[in-house]
């Protein structure tokens, strides 16, 4: 008989091992799924994990994509992880990402066609404020009216999507766009364009911001009182109150920070890789970032690695559906397996498996 025994304290070894075990298990289960679909599992796994980085034919295109895709994931996931650590569940980063993009883009477009170095920094600030305000809605509602921030933040994603559609069809539509939906393209507006900093690497300001966020979060959680309070609130809310944590302030800080970072991610995306506000601007970074946050164990360095891994499966998945004809749904299922296995294996950090007859010690 197999049983789970609670460990006296969480296993240090398994905290680091679980993500690796989860990735391996995902490869095995995913491989079986690909085999059932009639594809060569080894080739499929290789196409997803290896080819985007090292295949001579594709790497030149897909290597820069790695940073482009990973940056928003990491930026959003870092913000989410602060709240998740404290037991504050912002599920609506996608909406905050959209609102950040709209706010930032609107500021940039308002200056068009003036050229000045100040425009891009202003857009960055506006993007952060857009995400922050959108996240403050569930925050304020929770603090003052005890609503559930999971529901409110999630539902606000759909509201944000409608605002996005309205903006691309109305207020922010390109007046010279022959009536097509979508704003002006920032690629042709130098002062507002979030261009590649080093050509051919995918490195743009969003990547820089993501790295800064990782360092900031690391210092906050490891060295600062506020980070300690965040962890304490997540571990033991009553002890946190006893220790002098103000829960309302903490909720607003966590939701505000995650909203601002998601807004920044949206701004860097709209002014760079995407280039314009359009109806289908958002592609789910805000939701995928939830997986990234957990895959990275809610730890800043873990999130950095998890963001890169997740970006890899995105790019590799696209490549696999292009080259091998694997359906996009199968790729999504593959990514879902990653979270599933991670949460399943996670049990091992707090419990140990023992074999043999049950006995109450």
């Amino acid at each position: 008989m197999v049983r789970l025994e609670k460990r006296p304290q969480p296993s240090k070894k398994w905290i680091y091992l679980t993500p690796i075990v989860a990735v391996v298990a995902t490869m095995i289960a995913g491989g079986i799924m690909f085999a059932i679909l009639g594809k060569d599992p080894f080739e499929a796994i290789r196409t997803i994990f290896w080819d985007p980085l090292f295949n001579e034919q594709f790497a030149a295109y897909s290597r820069p994509q790695l940073l482009v895709k990973a940056a928003p994931l990491i930026l959003i996931a870092i913000g989410l992880s602060l709240g998740f650590r404290a037991g504050i569940w912002n599920i609506g980063a996608e909406g905050q990402y959209i609102m950040g993009a709209i706010f930032g883009a609107a500021v940039g477009l308002a200056f068009y066609p003036t050229e000045s170095w100040i425009i891009f920094p202003l857009m960055v600030i506006a993007g952060a404020i857009g995400g922050l305000l959108w996240a403050m809605i569930p925050g304020v509602l929770r603090v003052y009216f005890r609503t559930n921030e999971i529901l409110v933040s999630l539902l606000l994603v759909y509201v944000a999507e409608f605002i996005l559609a309205s903006m691309s069809l109305g207020l922010l539509r390109n007046p010279e766009g022959a009536g097509f939906p979508g704003s002006r393209n920032f690629k042709s507006y130098a002062s507002a364009h979030n261009a590649e900093l080093i050509a051919g690497t995918g490195m743009h300001w969003g990547v820089v911001a993501a790295f800064i966020a990782v360092i900031f979060a690391y210092v906050l959680l490891a060295k600062h009182m506020l980070g300690f309070q965040i962890r304490l609130t997540g571990e033991a809310p009553r002890a946190a109150r006893f220790g002098g944590v103000n829960p309302a302030r903490l909720i607003l800080f966590c939701l505000g920070t995650s909203g601002a970072l998601a807004g920044l991610a949206g701004l860097f995306e709209v002014s760079g890789p995407s280039g314009q506000i359009s109806i289908d601007f958002n592609v789910g970074y805000g939701f995928t970032a939830i997986i990234v946050a957990f895959l990275g164990r809610l730890h800043p360095v873990g999130i950095l690695l998890a963001g890169l891994l997740m970006a890899l499966t995105y790019i590799g998945g696209e490549l696999a559906s292009l080259m091998l004809g694997i359906p996009a749904a199968a790729i999504q299922a593959f990514q879902g397996m990653l979270l599933f296995f991670l949460l399943a294996v996670d049990v091992l950090t707090n419990y140990r498996v023992s074999f043999g007859k049950a006995e109450v010690a």
Partner: protein, 508 residues
């Protein structure tokens, strides 16, 4: 002449790294109340789990009425007439009493018949209980009755009770003891596990004392004093807290008409509490659990704020201040619930040291933490209060209850507070550790701190308090000198007879 019911011979059980029971031999006679005594970790729990079939012994034999007795599982033990009431109840709050009892039965009868049986047993043994009440609405004492009646329905020959009075009020203890005495007179044997030596002297016929897994002695508790039994338990002379007499100091803490609604749904609101605590004084606050103890602790620690003038520290208003500001000024507190309230279970002792000591011990500068200082402080607490743990990096939940309690109390005492509020400071702590904690509190008072000890252990309060007051429905009685108070007077105070019977003792 008594006959043996259960003979235990050479029972041994080892776990990796520790021998929980080492050749334990004793006999429980028919119709006797047999006490099993020992400090935390002495092996009492393992022993009764072997009798109840939860744990298999490595060596040794048990004989029940002369026949070999090796229960492979609790069901077999129950079939042989062994019943057990655990310290922690296993009841479903959403179900009613009869449903809960039916769940534990092999072949439950019809609900109506079962309810009739429950009513009959509860009447017979003086354990009032309505079979159709929802368990969630019952007090701890009533929940225990559900467990006891569940056992009695099996007509047990041996009833095992693990720390049954730790959750009971004095009145409920009386009811329980009457029931147990009735069972004894009917020939049922009882194996009674407890820390409370007074109770054992009152109730038990024989006591077997375990220390570090070995049986060290058997005695007749009626012929021993509490002190001699405690010394058998710890295997040395027990240190009884002493206090140095002192003159009454200035008022350190003053509470004026403190009224606070309870933050908890089923909590008790504090009503117009008035109190003055002097420097160097220990004020004991008694009362039946749930009469505002947690709320008073929270109102003083700052977890719940009140009108600013309701609480004065050295004449300065602090009622409106949050916990950290109060700590900075010198009011410290230790709540009752160790895991999850006084300490974060999954965090290390270093982090838990930081939890309350960061202000007074300056563990942060401009918000940036000085982990080395926190770790050093955790080490100081571990050393000075003899906390048994491999080191400060261990999680709070890995400590035993008594050790964690020593850490939590020590963490506050070493910060040299002006006012210290402790709620149930020795709850679930073994005798020698409890004596250490009480001594530490008295020493702190000797250094001039004002101490409020909130406890349900009246012996403890009488031992260390200068003055005594009782909480009753969120109101606090006028404090009276503790010396010379009789149990009757205390009972009246707890029952809410404000200033009636106790008035002639002269309010302080």
């Amino acid at each position: 002449m008594t006959t043996a019911l259960l003979e235990i011979e050479g029972l041994t059980k080892a776990y990796p790294g520790v021998v929980a029971n080492d050749h334990v031999t004793f006999t429980i006679n028919e119709g006797e109340v047999h006490a099993l005594l020992g400090e935390n970790g002495a092996g009492k729990s393992t022993l009764v789990k072997m009798i109840y079939g939860l744990v298999k012994p490595d060596a040794g034999t048990m004989r029940l009425r002369g026949a070999a007795f090796t229960p492979p599982e609790p069901r077999a033990a129950r079939a042989d007439g062994i019943a057990m009431v655990f310290q922690h109840f296993s009841l479903f709050e959403a179900l009613d009493v009869a449903e809960n009892i039916a769940l534990g039965m092999e072949n439950p009868p019809k609900m109506r018949d079962l309810a009739a049986q429950i009513s009959k047993v509860s009447e017979e043994y003086g354990l009032p209980l309505d079979p159709f009440r929802t368990v969630g609405d019952l007090s701890a004492g009533e929940r225990q009755r559900v467990e006891i009646i569940r056992c009695l329905l099996q007509n047990p020959k041996l009833l095992i009770m693990d720390e049954p009075t730790s959750v009971l009020t004095p009145q409920e203890v009386d009811i329980l003891f009457k029931t147990l005495e009735q069972l004894r007179s009917e020939g049922t044997s009882i194996l009674y596990i407890s820390h409370k030596l007074d109770e054992i002297r009152r109730l038990c016929d024989t006591a077997t004392i375990l220390r570090l897994g070995k049986k060290v002695d058997t005695c007749n508790p009626r012929e021993e004093s509490v002190r001699t039994m405690a010394e058998m338990m710890v295997g040395g002379t027990l240190h009884v807290p002493e206090r140095v007499p002192h003159a009454q100091g200035d008022v350190a803490l003053e509470i004026n008409n403190l009224s606070v609604p309870s933050p908890l749904q089923f909590g008790t609101s504090l009503k117009e509490i008035k109190l003055k605590v002097h420097k160097g004084e220990v004020l004991g606050v008694g009362g039946v659990a749930g009469n505002g103890q947690d709320e008073l602790t929270a109102a003083l620690s700052g977890e719940v704020v009140s009108a600013s003038g309701a609480i004065l520290l050295h004449g300065k208003s602090v009622g409106h201040l949050p916990p950290q500001s109060r700590r900075a000024m010198g009011i410290l507190a230790a709540p009752e619930e160790r895991l999850g309230h006084a300490a974060a279970p999954n965090m290390s002792l270093t982090e838990n040291a930081l939890l309350t000591a960061n202000v007074r011990k300056k563990m942060a500068r401009k918000g940036f933490l000085n982990w080395a200082a926190a770790k050093d402080y955790a080490k100081d607490v571990i050393r000075d209060f003899d906390v048994r743990t491999p080191g400060p990096e261990n999680a709070a939940r890995s400590l035993s209850g008594g050790n964690l309690q020593k850490f939590v109390i020590g963490r506050e005492i070493l910060q040299k507070p002006d006012v210290l509020v402790v709620n149930q400071p020795t709850w679930g702590v073994d005798a020698s550790a409890a004596a250490d904690i009480r001594q530490a509190l008295l020493d702190l008072a000797g250094e001039g701190a004002a101490i409020i000890v909130i406890s349900q252990d009246l012996d403890e309060l009488m031992e260390i308090s200068d003055r005594f007051a009782a909480l009753n429905g969120g109101r606090l009685t006028e404090p009276v000198p503790a010396k010379g108070l009789t149990v009757d007077q205390i009972g009246l105070m707890m029952g809410g007879a404000h200033d009636m019977e106790v008035a002639h003792h002269g309010a302080a």
